[in-house]
């Protein structure tokens, strides 16, 4: 049963067609990757699902609901969380505060309760904290709880951003290049985490990733994009050996030389 479905989605910026008549669907519980060369429209697809961009044609549905009728801030309350390509954390706050912001969609307290810190406020804070601690344990962030984001190294920020997305308790996670800029070990960790997110938490994952090694290991299905249009869709191996994909990445004359190069960085 498909959880997220895009049908004939087209987005234009001025004269440029960023996404052209794209259709695909992501099933509940699967890990789905979008790959493609720079400028293929992968992040644009994410930004349409997050409702930052509005497609000129087509429909996007999540769990049977029309996403295009929702505002950008309502997407989270449907259960879609995301990370960003160039880390968008709240810099002048601690890791803990960042993760607690992720709990915002579960806010039940009213302004007056919060200002006077009466009623549900304290109990709610404890509940938020408990949920956040589970994520901290899951991603091994204990050592960074009270550190300011502004002083953290890149690799840790990447994990904090994943943690913040998980703190929203999503049904679906959009990861925009989870392994970009990470070392080999960190990428390895990211791989285990993505697998655990799917297996233990039952969260559907849609990701954009250039590291074909990672994609090949964690993804069930892959969609290759070029110039905003679909090139190929299938298992990682199928997509990687698809002639149109190799052509888009390397050009036509390279096909014969690289036909067997599977599982490597493209």
């Amino acid at each position: 049963m498909s959880l997220l479905a895009l049908e004939n989605v087209t987005l234009k910026f001025g004269g440029v067609t960023a996404v052209n008549n794209l259709s695909f669907s992501v099933n509940e519980g699967e890990v789905f990757a979008l790959v493609g060369p720079n400028g293929a429209g992968k992040s644009t697809v994410f930004n349409m699902i997050s409702r930052f961009y509005r497609p000129v044609r087509g429909s996007i549905t999540f769990d049977g609901q029309d996403l295009l009728t929702k505002k950008a801030n309502e997407v989270a309350s449907l259960g879609i969380a995301r990370t960003f390509q160039n880390i968008e954390l709240f810099e002048r706050a601690t890791v803990l505060q960042n993760l607690l912001v992720g709990r915002h969609r579960h806010r039940k307290t009213m302004l007056i309760e919060e200002m006077l810190f009466i009623g549900r406020a304290r109990a709610e804070e404890r509940a938020h904290r408990l949920a956040v601690e589970e994520v901290i344990d899951f991603l091994d962030l204990q050592a960074y709880r009270d550190k300011m984001i502004a002083g953290l190294p890149y690799g840790v920020r990447k994990v904090v951003e994943l943690a913040r997305a998980l703190a929203t308790k999503p049904r679906m996670l959009l990861l925009d290049e989870p392994a970009s800029g990470l070392s080999v070990e960190e990428t390895q960790d990211m791989r285990w985490w993505i697998e655990d997110i799917r297996r233990q938490m039952g969260i559907t994952v849609l990701m954009v990733e250039h590291d074909m090694g990672l994609v090949g290991k964690v993804c069930d299905r892959v969609l290759a994009l070029a110039d905003g249009a679909k090139l190929a869709e299938g298992t990682p191996a199928e997509v990687q050996s698809h002639p149109a994909v190799i052509e888009a990445y390397l050009g036509t004359s390279a096909i014969s030389k690289t036909a067997n190069a599977k599982g490597e960085r493209v």
Partner: protein
């Protein structure tokens, strides 16, 4: 260096992290409560009243400063129009008193109504960003000046209004006859506003404010309604500014359009920058600088035997502001935090510890 051994989530939720911090602030409050008697003992008579008045002035500036701090320091929206809301709070309060309300009700209601008006004005204003928002709010401040003159029936026009004598808990609140009463009124308001602010910071809305300040785009992705959050911040900020304005006008004894001209807004903004943007402490430290600097300058010029120099005050304010922006953007409180770390780590602190980290690239802004 103290270590916190946390054994429950409540350690991070409660207002004070440990007994040491609690006793520090408890002592501060006790000293502030005892200040009228301390001044009486040290200076005696009229001089004590004068110094108490100066302290009252600091606290009143701090209340208004906390308002702007909530908007600019915590939510990241600059306003140069807070003098307009201070004027609104003040004139509302005097008109509520005219209508026969007791002072406390009129005062609180003036704050609430100012906040509501602020929230309504915020709806169009907060669609603007950066310098455009500053200009919009500056226009508000200048407009308010004219409005006070035009609405003569309520405001007394250019002649302004005298602060009416009122009673609070049975005591007559005349600034000259009862400086202690005024001091406690300002102290009570400052403590109440600080507590409200602090409670916000430890609950979801306060974190949403900080989220909007640091990254609107990911705040949205986390399910925060950015427009609504900004509107709330503006409203709350205006409510605090309204309370500060009511106190300031009444404390001055008489007020007209000039009392709340746009220079007050700029002073308020300077104050929170000098104090430390984003820190509650910063509002108080900045208020102390703003309130005491004129006195300190006049003492200095007296000491040097010259008559008062026109324009000196503004010039020194400007110089101090420039110095802070250049050398200590985190303000007085930021400087104190660094000093504290230095002391705690002595002799192992290094110069580079406080060097600003390079920020990583932000996602291309989606607008």
């Amino acid at each position: 260096m103290r270590f916190h051994f946390k054994t429950s989530y409540d350690h991070d939720i409660r207002l004070f992290p440990d007994w040491w911090k609690f006793s520090l602030y408890a002592t501060l409050v006790l000293v502030m409560l005892a200040l009228p008697w301390i001044f009486q003992g040290v200076f005696g008579g009229r001089t004590a009243g004068f110094y108490l008045g100066e302290m009252t002035n600091v606290l009143i500036w701090a209340v208004a400063g906390l308002g702007l701090m909530l908007l600019t320091g915590t939510t990241g929206q600059v306003s140069l129009g807070h003098s307009a809301f201070m004027a609104l709070g003040c004139f509302l309060c005097v008109n509520f008193l005219d209508a026969g309300m007791p002072f406390l009700l009129a005062f609180v209601l003036a704050g609430i109504v100012t906040g509501l008006v602020g929230a309504v004005i915020a709806v169009p204003a907060l669609k603007l960003h950066g310098v455009y928002l500053s200009i919009f709010t500056l226009a508000l401040a200048i407009l308010a000046d004219d409005l006070v003159v035009i609405l003569e029936h309520w405001t007394g026009g250019v002649n302004g209004r005298m602060a009416p004598d009122f009673t609070l808990f049975g005591a007559s609140m005349n600034r000259w006859a009862n400086p202690q009463g005024w001091y406690f009124l300002a102290l009570g308001t400052a403590i109440a506003v600080t507590l409200l602010y602090r409670n916000l910071l430890r609950s979801p809305l306060g974190r949403a404010f900080a989220a909007v300040r640091d990254s609107e785009i990911s705040a949205q992705a986390m399910g925060i309604d950015v427009a609504r959050t900004k509107t709330l911040a503006f409203g709350l900020s205006c409510a605090f500014a309204g309370l500060g304005g009511a106190l300031m006008g009444f404390f001055a004894g008489a007020f007209n359009n000039e009392t709340f001209n746009f220079l007050i807004s700029i002073q308020l903004l300077m104050m929170i920058i000098i104090g430390g943007l984003g820190f509650i402490h910063g509002a108080f430290l900045g208020a102390a600088v703003i309130a005491f600097l004129p006195q300190a300058l006049s003492m200095a010029t007296d000491f040097m035997g010259s008559a008062s120099i026109p324009g000196l005050e503004v010039g020194v304010f400007g110089a101090i502001l420039i110095a802070f922006i250049l050398f200590e953007p985190m303000g007085l409180y930021g400087r104190w935090l660094k000093l504290r770390v230095w002391l705690e780590l002595f002799p192992f602190a290094r110069r580079d510890m406080f060097r600003r980290q390079k920020s990583y690239l932000k996602t291309e802004r989606l607008r």
